[in-house]
């Protein structure tokens, strides 16, 4: 990125320094939490901000076991990938239909899906909760997964639709001439080409589901079935839980999203620009 180069000389150095300060300032809240997570309750009383004098890992042990953070993380690591499989299947198949198939109601249906994209969870929650109870899925993983996929699929579908629309129609046409079915075209021709975009919506779907709160809050009612995000939100409400333990729990909860970011940074970046809106 070297577009302008209109800042020169001392001003450039000044801007460079300001930028470093901005980045450091925005890391401060995270530093505070990481530092607190290694302090004993006694040390935290007298040393609230500086790095720990005698770092301990007891807070982590407590948060992971008694705080059940390991259990919650494991729950998320089971629910989210299963949700992602459904999510990708739904979005890719619908995106292909909107992008490359011809049918009379294509335009109105697409507009309808786009229209439903942004409604907040709380607008739907009362009734979603009823639908889930009617289906007998209260407090089940499947209940949460179905809700997640339904709620986040319109955005993924939108991205896949624009992607498939931009693909040359000749690809479909040639295969159709050879007598291939649409399902075959999608799975053998389109999906392999679309892999980078599928990876992008997978990352978007992962982040959306991993961080989702309202639906899991309402559907997952027993403590043992909580996701890590729900577990963290509930822990905040626990009266008198000491800051160092809360901090350790937070650091544990940050682990998976940070690892995903480090490994798939390219797709995370693509995800921001793919739709310009978050799901």
């Amino acid at each position: 990125m070297r577009n302008a180069q209109s800042i020169r000389g001392e001003v450039r150095i000044f801007v460079q320094i300001m930028m470093i300060l901005l980045v450091l300032a925005s890391l401060l809240p995270l530093y505070d939490v990481v530092a607190a997570s290694f302090k004993s309750g006694d040390e935290f009383l007298v040393n609230t901000f500086l790095p720990p004098n005698s770092p301990i890992i007891d807070n982590y042990v407590y948060a992971a076991t008694s705080g059940r953070l390991l259990r919650f993380t494991l729950n998320s690591l089971i629910l989210v990938p299963i949700g992602l499989v459904f999510y990708i299947a739904v979005c890719v198949s619908a995106g292909y239909a909107f992008g490359k198939m011809r049918f009379a109601s294509r335009r109105p249906l697409l507009l309808f899906v786009l229209f439903l994209m942004i409604f907040p969870q709380l607008l739907l929650a009362t009734q979603v909760f009823r639908v889930i109870s009617i289906l007998n899925l209260t407090d089940t993983g499947l209940g949460v997964i179905l809700t997640w996929v339904a709620y986040f699929a319109p955005f993924g579908t939108y991205i896949m639709t624009t992607y498939f629309t931009d693909m040359p129609y000749e690809l479909v046409e040639a295969a159709r001439m050879d007598g291939a079915s649409h399902l075959r075209i999608l799975t053998t021709v389109m999906v392999p080409i679309a892999m980078p975009m599928i990876a992008t919506i997978a990352i978007i779907g992962f982040q959306s589901m991993w961080n989702e709160l309202p639906f899991s809050l309402l559907i997952l009612q027993t403590e043992a079935s909580r996701t890590v995000t729900l577990g963290i939100a509930m822990m905040k409400g626990q009266y008198g839980l000491r800051v160092p333990i809360q901090s350790a729990a937070l650091v544990i909860a940050m682990a998976v999203p940070l690892i995903i970011f480090l490994v798939f940074q390219r797709y995370v970046t693509l995800g921001v620009t793919a739709g310009a809106v978050k799901g």
């Binding site: 990125m1 070297r2 577009n3 302008a4 180069q5 209109s6 800042i7 001003v11 450039r12 930028m19 925005s26 505070d32 939490v33 609230t48 299947a89 739904v90 198949s93 239909a97 198939m101 011809r102 049918f103 294509r106 249906l109 507009l111 899906v113 786009l114 942004i118 409604f119 907040p120 709380l122 607008l123 739907l124 929650a125 009362t126 009734q127 009823r130 639908v131 179905l146 709620y151 699929a153 129609y169 159709r176 999608l186 982040q207 961080n211 989702e212 709160l213 309202p214 309402l218 905040k236 409400g237 901090s247 937070l250 940050m254 995370v268 970046t269 921001v272 620009t273 310009a276 978050k278």
Partner: protein, 291 residues
């Protein structure tokens, strides 16, 4: 794109769309419609509904917490221009090719990655009475600030953290991508004309990313009206008092804490109207970009 050759695809498209449409019907369309029906009834969220006409709406407009939730939302909306200006400005600085711009961009994105719940707990710790910010304030001014225990402070903390700070990292990636698409010869021409940073910013950068800015503003409205619940629930539970109460939070309290689902339905209808307007605006912006 040409659509010649083969004719209509018959029933196949509907089979491809069936999973999506079924899910949307059950989990989005039906809930929205049922909220509208429920808003005219007295209902606990289960059992029979009793038709009461517009009574819920009458209760709502005389409910102080309803108006507070609207004014809180209005305060959050005020942070949209703040966030937009700061984000575009920082993006323009990074687009100058500052050393380490990729690292800055990645680090500032971290809050987006961690999500609203983790960020809310992080800030409940960071802004505590004897936390670093308050220690610094005490050292500088002699007194601390009740960031999360005073309603006036709390709603502004929500705006600054969630709308300005978290969105900065998201917006940098987005606007840097938009700026990288600007024709470089325009910058070279501006440079030859002797234009400085501000002139280049105003005459080249901003006009070239106009559509990206429109998209961004719509996105910010979605965040304010439809994506604030998780953060507010975790940080302040709508409080202190009604300090961070929003429409979403009102629906939550009425529907799930008090079991006034009919009344929550009336709040939902208001929220629906706001969101429907934003949704239409978003579709218009999208269609201009992808005709």
């Amino acid at each position: 794109m040409t659509r010649r050759g083969l004719s209509n695809d018959g029933i196949a498209p509907y089979l491809f769309l069936a999973p999506l449409l079924l899910l949307l019907a059950a989990f989005i369309l039906y809930p929205v419609a049922m909220n509208l029906v429920a808003s005219f009834t007295e209902w606990k969220g289960y059992g029979p509904m009793k038709w009461i006409g517009l009574a819920n709406y009458q209760t709502m407009i005389s409910d102080q917490s309803f108006w507070t939730s609207l004014s809180n939302t209005a305060i959050l909306v005020c942070y949209i221009p703040v966030s937009t200006i700061i984000t575009i400005f920082v993006a323009a600085l990074l687009a100058e090719g500052l050393r380490g711009w990729k690292a800055y961009r990645a680090i500032l994105f971290i809050p987006n990655l961690l999500g609203p719940v983790i960020i809310a707990v992080v800030f409940s710790i960071f802004l505590r009475g004897d936390g670093p910010i308050n220690l610094a304030l005490k050292w500088l001014t002699g007194s601390t600030s009740p960031f999360l225990t005073s309603p006036v402070y709390a709603i502004n903390v929500v705006g600054i953290v969630q709308i300005v700070w978290v969105h900065l990292g998201f917006g940098l990636i987005y606007f840097l991508a938009a700026m990288s698409g600007i024709d470089r010869s325009m910058y070279e021409a501006a440079l030859i004309d002797g234009a400085g940073f501000w002139q280049t910013f105003a005459r080249v950068t901003i006009p070239s990313i106009r559509f990206a800015v429109e998209f961004w503003v719509v996105f910010s409205f979605i965040e304010v009206f439809a994506r604030m619940f998780s953060f507010i629930y975790t940080l302040t539970q709508g409080g202190p008092g009604y300090g961070t109460f929003t429409l979403e939070y009102g629906i939550f309290v009425q529907g799930f804490a008090k079991f006034h689902s009919g009344y929550a339905g009336a709040w939902s209808v208001v929220l629906f109207l706001f969101c429907a307007a934003i949704s239409v605006a978003q579709i218009r912006v999208m269609r201009r970009r992808n005709p």
